[in-house]
């Protein structure tokens, strides 16, 4: 496969993985938790580096998973102790993110991990960083990680489909009929953490938020059904990645930034022109009613 195709595949996998997982968070009104986790995952990656002295896939995934769950746990604890939820999220993620950034400065030049990378990723380097076993080249590590996380997430959504659905729609009722809502909550938090860390190399810790939230929110404006929403969200994620990459390649600018911007443009289109919920479409309908 050529260099460009690898990048496009990576970007699409980011869009698909984050889009599907993130749409669940939009429905649960936990977008800002996704924002928080995507920031704090940096600390997990840095921590995994200090422990394992490398930037390999597995320690990173574990570190990110742990810190992601801790983030959700800290936010939850502060909130239940009486801190309003937005402030609880704000204080937890800025603290852990700041710690991550400061710790990065201590890593120095030993490995390719700096604050800039943490912010916007380096999707253009992804094709060079390949998985080599016994001298055989199995393709970019990022693609493997994204693929594994995507399959894992889809599998989890598939087996816990109705539990996720009911605990999102009506958590109290879910609890009443014996659905372990806390388990589902942390399951999703883990899925978000894993998606973030798998996307980290490509789009960085902050811009992954765009891939997590924006496709889901866009799909939410386009459909009223649960399963189509998941599919659509993944599709919009891929589309954002493709448009973003095309734009970035043409203007020679940040790929991840362009992907975020592209997702924003798609959202704006849905916001204005969605057949059911678009602002302009509704205005026209209202006028027809009036006349």
């Amino acid at each position: 496969m050529t260099y460009t195709l690898w990048i496009i595949l990576t970007g699409s996998l980011v869009g698909l993985t984050c889009g599907v997982t993130g749409s669940l968070l939009v429905l649960r009104k936990m977008s800002m938790i996704a924002d928080a986790i995507s920031h704090t995952v940096l600390l997990g990656i840095v921590g995994a580096f200090f422990v394992s002295q490398s930037l390999n896939g597995l320690p990173m995934l574990i570190g990110a998973g742990v810190v992601g769950i801790l983030t959700a746990f800290f936010v939850e604890s502060l909130h239940s102790s009486g801190v309003q939820s937005d402030a609880a999220i704000g204080v937890v993620f800025t603290s852990l993110f700041a710690l991550g950034v400061v710790l990065i400065s201590f890593i120095g030049d030993q490995v390719h991990l700096d604050t800039k990378h943490a912010l916007m990723g380096e999707i253009t380097f992804v094709p060079w960083n390949t998985l080599q076993i016994n001298g055989v080249n199995y393709g970019p590590i990022a693609v493997w990680m994204l693929g594994i996380v995507l399959i894992l997430n889809l599998f989890l959504i598939w087996i816990f489909y109705k539990e996720i659905k009911i605990s999102t729609f009506d958590p109290q009722y879910a609890k009443l009929i014996g659905v372990p809502v806390v388990f589902v909550h942390y399951l999703l938090m883990t899925m978000v953490s894993l998606s973030t860390v798998a996307s980290f190399d490509s789009v960085g810790a902050i811009l992954v938020v765009a891939m997590l939230i924006v496709p889901g929110a866009t799909a939410y404006l386009l459909t009223d059904r649960f399963f189509p929403l998941l599919l659509l969200s993944g599709g919009i994620g891929i589309l954002s990645a493709l448009i973003g990459y095309g734009f970035a390649a043409y203007w020679n600018v940040s790929v991840s930034g362009s992907m975020a911007s592209a997702s924003g443009v798609l959202f704006l289109f849905a916001f204005l022109f969605s057949p059911k919920h678009g602002v302009i479409v509704r205005k026209i309908k209202n006028k027809q009613y009036a006349s």
């Binding site: 936990m30 603290s95 600018v253 911007s261």
Partner: protein, 287 residues
């Protein structure tokens, strides 16, 4: 370590600048916290990045006042977008904030890389708007921060009780003839001001923490708004100074994250030992 640091004139400016900046953010943040707009302020901060970059692309000079104007414009656009998304669609506030934060910041990064590709070397320092860099500040920058912070503190103090009533009970405030929307707008302007003058030192990514964390820490020590704002100001000032000093003394430490870490330490200490709601107090009471 440079021991002459503390006597250098530039350092004294940085010292006072970070002190006042932290203080102003803490005080204003107290109101932001009460209005439950902590995360909206984060969105405003992230949205400042494209504003700064656009100004540089248009005017092709590095001028702090111009950057501030650009940042103000895009921050205000961002808040406006959040409000209209929530108002005109079924998207809830948290998702709207998340969308605006990530898309505006992403666009800012696009512009930043565009500048790095296409401008002729004069872009030095724009990077520091992301995480802040006290070391890169020249005297005029710090003077601007100092004077700006001072103005913010004075305005907040002048209208303290008006802010208080229009946040706590806007209906009543309207009833007694206060222009509540004016004060809402003024508070918004103060937040934009705090964010914008702070981004050079703290950076767009973390400046909101300076608005969120000190007031939250102060809440563990007092239940009175006046005292809370004052304490938040003091906590902010301590964080600002210690973060700025630490990052100048130790090489390569980014200023913003250091300031935020100091604030986080204060918060953590308050969470444990705060005299009103601290965990230690709660444990003692239960015994």
């Amino acid at each position: 370590m440079d021991f002459n640091l503390f006597s250098s004139a530039n350092f004294q400016w940085v010292f006072f600048g970070s002190l006042l900046l932290g203080f102003a953010n803490g005080v204003i943040g107290s109101f932001v916290l009460l209005k439950k707009q902590s995360l909206i302020s984060d969105a405003m901060a992230h949205a400042a990045l494209p504003g700064v970059c656009l100004m540089f692309i248009i005017f092709e000079i590095k001028s702090i006042p111009l950057f501030l104007i650009g940042a103000t414009i895009t921050s205000l656009i961002a808040t406006h977008f959040i409000q209209s998304i929530v108002k005109h669609s079924r998207i809830k506030t948290d998702a709207a904030i998340g969308i605006i934060i990530s898309v505006f910041f992403g666009f800012g990064i696009v512009l930043l890389t565009y500048i790095q590709q296409n401008s002729s070397g004069n872009q030095a320092g724009l990077d520091s708007f992301i995480f802040g860099q006290a070391a890169s500040l020249v005297r005029s920058d710090v003077q601007l921060i100092t004077i700006g912070s001072l103005i913010l503190v004075i305005v907040t103090t002048l209208f303290f009780k008006e802010f208080k009533i229009s946040i706590f009970d806007p209906q009543f405030a309207r009833g007694i003839g206060l222009p509540v929307s004016f004060f809402n707008g003024l508070l918004l302007a103060l937040v934009v001001g705090a964010v914008v003058i702070g981004i050079q030192m703290v950076g767009v990514v973390l400046i909101a923490a300076l608005l969120i964390t000190p007031p939250l820490a102060a809440k563990y020590w007092t239940e009175k708004l006046g005292m809370m704002a004052l304490l938040a100001g003091i906590f902010g000032a301590i964080s600002g100074v210690s973060g700025a000093v630490l990052s100048s003394v130790i090489n390569d430490l980014p200023t913003g994250p250091m300031i935020v870490l100091c604030a986080s330490v204060i918060f953590f200490f308050s969470l444990l030992f705060g005299s009103k709601k601290g965990m230690a107090v709660k444990v003692v009471r239960q015994l």
